[in-house]
């Protein structure tokens, strides 16, 4: 099976995150591999391993679109176990919205299928931890005419049939489709493995291919701010919540809590 896992290099949520510049984009210093993508990578590795790994012709390719720093997300993915990496990078991509991003990623996946071994499965996290729109999986599936099985909390591939379970609010569902397909997974699906010493050494020998827009046949006007269908017109840091009242329970905090709720007209 040939599996492509989308991995994104995102600002670490443990630190303050900032929106900067004329395009109101997120500052990418202090970035890491989006932790929700680790679940997709783990799912891909499990599928490949169940099928006999590299020896049996399985492939797990980590794909990241982003500026030079995004290569770090790929390196981490290789350390965790991805077999190879692909880095799509081009100045013209800066400021792409979901529509432009999905266009570039779709072209990259077509490019990766052009060696005669088509991609069977595209795996993604449920959302990036920065934009959090969950649009990319759906838009990529639409662009590639693939069935989407999103928010999967379990995943099985039997022959060419992919079966996933998902939790959809008031009900849970089992969904199925034929490969090739796109699957996004939640953090309920597995426990992602950590890179171990062996993995870190092995990663040094693995390849990361660099691709530009020209390589995937995309015109610069189709991506970046030029190719985006939305603009962020303004961004303002929200004033921090003003410090509230903090009390230590002296045996009557429950009553004080009710007094507070009454004063706020919340009872």
């Amino acid at each position: 099976m040939k599996i492509v896992v989308l991995v994104k290099h995102v600002p670490d949520a443990q630190f303050d995150r900032h929106i900067t510049g004329p395009g109101n984009t997120t500052d990418r210093d202090e970035s890491i591999l989006s932790e929700l993508d680790e679940y997709a990578l783990e799912a891909a590795l499990q599928l490949a391993e169940e099928r006999g790994g590299t020896k049996a012709g399985n492939e797990v390719i980590a794909l990241s679109m982003g500026p030079s720093g995004a290569v770090n997300a790929l390196k981490k993915s290789l350390q965790i176990g991805a077999y190879s990496g692909v880095h799509l990078s081009d100045d013209a991509l800066a400021g792409s919205d979901a529509a432009a991003t999905s266009l570039a990623l779709a072209a990259t996946i077509r490019h990766l299928s052009a060696d005669g071994r088509p991609v069977d499965l595209v795996l993604t996290g449920m959302a990036s931890t920065d934009g959090e729109t969950s649009l990319i999986p759906a838009q990529l599936a639409e662009r590639l005419s693939l069935p989407q099985l999103t928010f999967a909390s379990s995943l099985e591939v039997n022959g060419r049939t992919v079966v996933a379970r998902r939790d959809a609010g008031a009900h849970s569902e089992t969904v199925e489709a034929q490969l090739p397909a796109l699957v996004s997974v939640t953090d309920q699906i597995n426990e992602p493995r950590y890179p171990n010493f062996k993995g870190i050494l092995a990663a040094k020998k693995k390849k990361i291919a660099s691709l530009s827009l020209a390589d995937i046949g995309v015109d610069p006007s189709q991506v970046g701010q030029a190719g985006s269908w939305t603009v962020v017109e303004s961004a303002a840091a929200r004033p921090p919540r003003t410090a509230g009242t903090i009390i230590t329970d002296e045996g009557d905090a429950g009553i004080k809590l009710v007094d507070f709720l009454a004063a706020q007209k919340l009872l």
Binding site: I19, P137, A164, A170, V232, I246, G251, A253, G254, L261
Partner: protein, 317 residues
Amino acid sequence: MANALVFIDNPGAALKKSNLELLTLARKLGETAVAFTGELTDDVAATLGAYGATTIYQPSVDDLADYLVAPKAAYLAAAVATSGATAVLLENSPEGKEIAGRLGIKLNAGVITDVVGLDADRTAHKSVLAGSYNTTAKATTPVAVLSVKANIVEPEPAGTVAEPATAKVEVPADAVANAARISSRTEKPASGRPDLSEARIVVAGGRGVDGDFAPVEELADALGAAIGASRAATDAGWIGHDAQVGQTGVTVSPQLYISAGISGAIQQKAGMQTSKVIVAINKDAEAPVFEIADFGIIGDLFKVLPQATAEIKKRKG
């Protein structure tokens, strides 16, 4: 010709509050039509009219709900073409956002998700990066697709009421060709409590409840609140995953969020930081949740919550 098209997906016997909110907001943009799926009862049609819908579209096929996302996007694209709408409003549920995403590609239309406010010129307001930034965004395309969060406007009927026209929309024959099929669906038992994403009050418990949600549930019932939880509590299996609030759970913006025995990790804050009033009860004075609490109690939840519950019952008589 409609200006705004509101997607109302299989509401059942009565419209949900979030449906009415979308209709209320859509009227800002001009004449409003509805793209409907499921059974359209006389009651529902009358309510749609009362909220300003001039036309109700229905799909030519009735199996859209058997597939995931793609055919609904195909139906909506056809409804946009028929109605001439320049804005589509959907619910901000995971499925709503995905339908919006696919629809955007079909229509070459900009998509904006997580909308918390909308101006008459289609400028959308959002809160991003776990609530730390407020942004405005706009689609630069002829059609804009917007998924709108619940609880951002009070539902308000339209001033004048006319009986809406109904019309069928032809769903393209290939709409299901590349869609994933839903092979089984299990309804979860209803709790009788308000729906977490729409509740006015949420009482949430974390690892600090140590397996015992009873004090959280009793306070929630005294307040008529929904129950929330941290991931530590849902991972431990003390309560269903549906109750998880946060980055990978439900996002809530209630009038009141009571956090009990939850440390306030960034992934938890991401789901509740936009609550109007935040109350935190935690044994640890250093817990990060106190940084965002309007009222914080350093104390044991097993003492504070039952005392508060008893006091509320007493005051309510």
